[in-house]
Symmetry: C2
């Protein structure tokens, strides 16, 4: 699914946000994890089945109001092969419920290996005469430190399968400036990365006005957002850092264009752990997640009006 | 296992090389993949079981002469959850055969997520009161674009479990210079990254004289090797690019110190696909891999004398 599909879903729902699905076992209510540990013991399988049940509940609660989900690969890799299965099931369920899926994988490698990553997450694996999509995301995050030949295999999937990318430009974490804000031949590194992202997007514009190649730009850095927006007027921004990481709706206004489009704001722990603030035992985690997703949507929509 | 263990294995075998285990189905002889497709059809399971059988054969053929293996995560992720299982089985088998395992994962993320990656590949996952090592590598590769707080969770595993890291500094691919060689406040970016690697290694020296925090430095860039060696005298270098990527033994001499230590050179396709050059059908893949590993060892040991 092209970035155009994401833009249509955002418009349709009037909601420029994405729900991060980064479940650690401690984010999952006891009635789910306890049952699975009773069935399967204290195993990675019990943890992974809890994650799938939790994610499916969240997707059920959010799919009519939130356009996209962003599973973060790390939390699935933490559960070994059961986690890999949980990631695939989560992606398939989100697709079945009509959501756009951004795989937050931040992969980077030399060309031959980047090809394997691109095929794994966006494309297909060939076994004999059969082609199988191991994960089948619509979009993934990619780190461009290795330059063009490490990104090209991902661009190929964008060209041939209408996939989209979000390239790391300015990340949301406190130490991102240690390298990303240092001066590289007259501009900060993040601006040089943005220039390369513009180059990588050549030929990948879509009819909706946005390019298949987007950028990750932290909500926590409003000034950098403004500069990167100027360098990448046609790129969609994936904006992490709202909520748990401390950024507010005001901080992300620069990431958007005047049409209210151009960015999608992520919240992971804010939505997943909303049930911990209701004073109940987690049986209400879907309702709590939905209420938080609506609050976040309204907060952001108001800030960018 | 500490970097000191790797150094001891290198000395004991007189061999500063590592075998990359990056199996694509087309690198695997027909007698292995054909049988698995007969048993399981054209499925990811058939591909993953072929990879495990192939890897175990390679490990059997190499374990008394090669100190380490480096599975590349991408090729396992290409096979979904079966691939994740194949990665774990490969790591366990290499350990059982006494080899050091470098997980080539090139992960990078914000602190909370980097914690999950570090636990997944170097540490343990907690389920209830049980701790489980999902992958249990001795060392992993990490991309430092996000700065200190994205690296700290990996450093923590180095401190508490004697693990080691190889940070991407100057990668072996043709376009690595697009960003890595550009000037950042008077030095190329790769040199700035090397300075940060030195800082991340503080407090992580080991009695053998080398630090737990190493660097990835491409065989294809001998001049940069020299500069990085000066900036990181106590770091082990993981050197990809020999063989299939075009670098020769002469090109990697700068990566080593005068004692013949300080670097470990990777070959993946050269060893895995050696059987394709014998004119046979692949039944001799173990012998071909072993012969190539010995040729490579002698080639490199002679070049650094």
């Amino acid at each position: 699914m092209s970035i155009q599909t994401l833009v249509e879903k955002i418009k349709e729902k009037g909601n420029p946000t994405v729900a991060g699905l980064d479940a650690r076992l401690e984010y999952i209510p006891q009635h789910i994890s306890g049952r699975n540990m009773m069935l399967h013991g204290e195993t990675l399988r019990a943890a992974a089945e809890s994650v799938v049940a939790f994610n499916c509940g969240l997707i059920d609660a959010l799919c009519d109001i939130v356009p996209a989900v962003k599973p973060q690969a790390a939390y699935y890799e933490l559960l070994g092969s059961y986690g890999a299965m949980a990631l695939k099931e989560t992606i398939d369920y989100a697709h079945a419920k009509g959501m756009y899926v951004i795989g937050d994988i931040k992969r980077n490698d030399i060309g031959a290996t980047a090809t394997a990553y691109a095929e794994a997450y966006l494309g297909k694996t060939r076994v004999g005469d059969t082609e199988i999509a191991p994960y089948g995301c619509d979009s993934v995050t990619v780190n461009g430190y290795l330059g063009t030949d490490g990104v090209e295999p991902f661009l190929k999937e964008c060209r041939s399968r209408e996939k989209s990318l979000f390239m790391l430009v300015k990340t949301s974490n406190p130490s991102s400036g240690e390298l990303q804000n240092r001066d590289m031949e007259g501009k900060p590194l993040y601006a040089r990365m943005a220039e390369m992202v513009a180059k990588w997007g050549e030929g990948l514009d879509t009819p909706c006005g946005y390019n298949q190649i987007g950028a990750v730009v932290g909500a926590t850095y409003p000034e950098e957002q403004k500069i990167i927006r100027e360098l990448l007027p046609k790129s969609y921004f994936l904006v992490p850092g709202y909520g748990a990481q401390g950024a507010t709706a005001k901080d992300i206004a620069n990431a958007f264009n005047d049409d209210g489009l151009g960015a999608i704001v992520n919240s992971s722990r804010g939505i997943m752990c909303a049930w911990k603030k209701t004073g109940n035992n987690g049986e209400d985690y879907k309702e709590a997640a939905r209420a938080e997703a609506i609050r976040m949507r309204d907060d952001i929509v108001n800030a960018i009006k």
